[in-house]
Assembly symmetry: D2
Homo-oligomer: 356 residues x 4
Amino acid sequence: MSRIRVGVVGGSGYVGGNLLGLLLWHPEVEVCFVESVQAAGRPVAEVHTFLRGLCGLEFQDFSLDMLRENCDLVFLAKAHTEGMRFVGPLVEAGLRVIDLGADFRLKDAEVYRHWYGVEHAFPGLLSQAVYGLPELNREAVRRARLVANPGCYPTAVILALAPALAGGYSRADEVFVCAYSGISGAGRTPQPGKNLFLDAYRNIKPYKVCIHQHQPEMEQELGRVAGGTVRINFVPHLAPLDKGIYATIYLDLSRRVELEEVMEYYREYYRGSPFVRILPSGEYPQVADVVGTNFCDIGLALAACKGDGILRLVVFSALDNTMKGACGQAIQNMNLMFGLPETTGLYPLAGASWGT
Amino acid sequence: MSRIRVGVVGGSGYVGGNLLGLLLWHPEVEVCFVESVQAAGRPVAEVHTFLRGLCGLEFQDFSLDMLRENCDLVFLAKAHTEGMRFVGPLVEAGLRVIDLGADFRLKDAEVYRHWYGVEHAFPGLLSQAVYGLPELNREAVRRARLVANPGCYPTAVILALAPALAGGYSRADEVFVCAYSGISGAGRTPQPGKNLFLDAYRNIKPYKVCIHQHQPEMEQELGRVAGGTVRINFVPHLAPLDKGIYATIYLDLSRRVELEEVMEYYREYYRGSPFVRILPSGEYPQVADVVGTNFCDIGLALAACKGDGILRLVVFSALDNTMKGACGQAIQNMNLMFGLPETTGLYPLAGASWGT
Amino acid sequence: MSRIRVGVVGGSGYVGGNLLGLLLWHPEVEVCFVESVQAAGRPVAEVHTFLRGLCGLEFQDFSLDMLRENCDLVFLAKAHTEGMRFVGPLVEAGLRVIDLGADFRLKDAEVYRHWYGVEHAFPGLLSQAVYGLPELNREAVRRARLVANPGCYPTAVILALAPALAGGYSRADEVFVCAYSGISGAGRTPQPGKNLFLDAYRNIKPYKVCIHQHQPEMEQELGRVAGGTVRINFVPHLAPLDKGIYATIYLDLSRRVELEEVMEYYREYYRGSPFVRILPSGEYPQVADVVGTNFCDIGLALAACKGDGILRLVVFSALDNTMKGACGQAIQNMNLMFGLPETTGLYPLAGASWGT
Amino acid sequence: MSRIRVGVVGGSGYVGGNLLGLLLWHPEVEVCFVESVQAAGRPVAEVHTFLRGLCGLEFQDFSLDMLRENCDLVFLAKAHTEGMRFVGPLVEAGLRVIDLGADFRLKDAEVYRHWYGVEHAFPGLLSQAVYGLPELNREAVRRARLVANPGCYPTAVILALAPALAGGYSRADEVFVCAYSGISGAGRTPQPGKNLFLDAYRNIKPYKVCIHQHQPEMEQELGRVAGGTVRINFVPHLAPLDKGIYATIYLDLSRRVELEEVMEYYREYYRGSPFVRILPSGEYPQVADVVGTNFCDIGLALAACKGDGILRLVVFSALDNTMKGACGQAIQNMNLMFGLPETTGLYPLAGASWGT
């Protein structure tokens, strides 16, 4: 098979850099075009200095013609609400698209408007877009022309909760998520109070308390799994590290069960999903085990609570927000779309935190 | 008034070093005796190098006679279950004692045995010991001969929840605590997997999931406030910073209320408590605002949840585990016991993370 | 004595925040006026959230009248080249001034123009300005009306080298400085590539290699000590921590000496200087011992080198760039200017990294 | 070609874990045997939890028979002086060996005894051992039966200096190295004062000042390059990050040259060496560009100095101590020994810090 010819639109941010690193290393990919508004005309390796000697490309201005002629697939790595306008023309031009932004994740244009504060530019495309979480939508991803690559928090939370809801172990109306993210999640644009070194070093702080725009994304996808309405209480925090998401989730059990039964259900649910690891009883995920990899590690515990003896389930999940939470997952989706093994270019380990 | 003559038993660990730094700086204190098993005979400033030029004392072996003759007050900074045996003789010798360990915090010797795995050496003293959280027990601390200085997590969680329970805003049977601690909480003794640099750097991990020994301490003190049984679900995590506790707590509201009403109750509850700051609506505590200080910052939010319209309260609290969570609180207790203003040597700021 | 009434011009950056923290805590100071262009009209504690509950002031627009009427002393904490224009009017109005910026440190307006790229606004004041390093210029500081508070790197390097040059132990033409700074040195204005979290975390990088504007400041002051020309090779680096300067300096010895002789000279040189600590032979400074304090710790070693048997001296110095490298030193200068003990409000410890 | 069958002796430390991660990911390798004294009988993935699901092996006791029957190559990852005794029998058994320890790096048993404090167990093998720095000894490595894998500091310093000495640009008797290392260099065994989280976080400190055991290794190999005696002044420091070496080196130029001439010589010297990148004039290496990769980045600057106009050269080098400084280099050596492309399993990027 000839190599997949890819273009990257929005290549000068953190996500663009991460993605280019993975694509240049992928054995079945040729990077043909890299767009950036701010960096057009500059060598890619000058902006992403870790790519010195590894990438001879220059950033270019957006060109639909160039993309149509030279590419099979376009990765879109623009900020929310900015990338949206590129998608219609790209899809119309027959290109397959993986959007790492948030604009095509929500199915309901009204919900989108509520959370992102703008009208959707292509509401008609929302139903075509496939929510690119392979562990839940593997077959749809294979056939997709437009993949909405999930957010980092939703990936961690949905993978943690889907089996519990699918298996009927929990009611969906009482879910408490306490999540922590590394600072790369705040992007490369300076945000005083958030992503300056002194904002984050030796600090922990919550933000967007119960109003984070990833919440409806979780509720939408988990609602599909649960076959009903799901309400998520979601509080994200910033932690002093570069990469990593850690989610600690309390949820009601709908009946008394043994932990091992739930764990077995989780293991079965993710059989065939090479990037989800269910940890043994008594062990819990840690960021150091997944940073630099495409893994999402999941652990489970029971918490006794309430006089009536009903137990709570505590679910933990950890992933690298730049990998399984963004770029690694995008590669995984690409592999599926082009008939490659899901792990190509990602497995066994793409940059694990060796030995730590 | 002549200065308070104090002795420190267990002076070579992190807590001992922190405490000595504060005591040497306190205008009304004279440090007369510092004990350490491992470091007896060595200069204090050789072990705690930040005290070079500031402390001419040497560590000594334990001597009840020395303490009795030279001290008014003894701070005990030994590991759990180790410090216990010193307390009986010290109290009997007429010395006032502030125990920074956990051995006299629980009132029930049976509960102590369950969580700490050993028989209590002086069960008869448990009822005399005052739980040294001045914001709840100020008057009792003033008169106390034996103060059990609270744990770091309990200080953060109890201060965060006490007003909600005292005001009847919440039922006490559904509390979910997700707490993060800096690594100083793990002490100075090497614990591979926990307090080595590579264990914690670029990592987040939970530990003692729902089985942490601070849980009964929270339940005991909050039970007193609530006037009934309180059940806490408590999951602590390690975060990659040296100091700081961050607690994010979900709890049921017992009735529909406005956030401002609850906040006003909180402000009123802590009027007269100089080290608790209730943040305005829409603002949340962060570790950087309290690290190096004796403050506990508290913030509040409402989270919509459940079909029936009952809301959840989310409470945030942040403190420095080495200050309000240990040594600063011990100084605060000492001030009360000796009739000094509560903030002497601690206020306005003892080492705030200026400007970050 | 009535309290010193101070004004702060430029109060919303990191330096302003640090300074306010120290001033509010100082027993002999009353803060009467705080200026900020960006934050005028906002409460100080809203910008510097760690000051919540401790400072009721608001930032104001600059007003010479207000300062003249209400203040004895003005601290100027503006960026280089920006603060300069305020100094003339303030001095003319009879106010004493401590400038934490760089504009009055160099004596030669031509050298200033070369390194800072602008004409000096008040070249006539340069000769009046006292270089505010108390350990070298204590008496001049006492009488000064205008103090140029030294830079962070120069403080570390000058204190490390002054005795070696003053004692004739070293030729002044071969000095190699390798210095590392925490990220607070880069200020609060976003500088992509420098002070974003991802720029600095898990990274080490040099900057302004042999062209840093602090170099002429070192050469000027050390030249005065040595009584001749001094040439400094200076390479600064960014290290992944918030605060701290670490300087490792190689220099030629002019003759064979025993290390102990040099150390004794250093100790004698700084006798009477409470904030300089000369470490014993075989011990070296570390940032953790000085962070949060006004200390500069200095250590010495000999390095064998060259066939001809002439030895090299290696000098190490560590300080907190926000304290002895900026705000602590400014307070120290204020104390001297107003006849207070040098350590008032700074000593024994103002926020030591207790026990670490 | 059938896959290389490898054994790892000393597999439970940081180096062992790193190495296993790379080997499991290498397309031409089969890991057949992993020894560990402490962990014999335990699953590899239980000790190195990041390898969960990726490695089904168990640690075993040492067995020369097992290694002889099942392996072509043995990696030795034991502590200095401990691994030595395994080498004789392994070599005698006809196995090829790559020793990641220090025991076979020095050619002179007497020098070894001086720096490591023990008699060498197999002095007769020292002359056979090839110093495994491929950029200098590529052909010898190809034919080697016993490779002494270089230390992390020596790799950074030798690669930085070899061209300057080989090209006669510098005299070899005046070299000043100021090097910083991440904490993984201190290994997995607790060393209070060094590798606990609180020892290193928010800290910088030197250690083994001018007495580090890597110094003779640099002098030996650079002496071979220079064709004469080289004397290195070497001061290592600990920096608060997990991985990375940063070396800043001052050295005399033997004559006045243009920077570009020296840079061109460097580029030519490393032509054909895929893992050394010489940066353009005015750009300098940073740890973030090399962490997780096998690259050593090198930058150059001139520093004016001395009245007589002779210039100094400043050389900067950065690498990942766990990759080019240890395990990546070992893989690079293995590739050469077994006729594979030098970059197999390492290139373009094995875990780069994407985009940071």
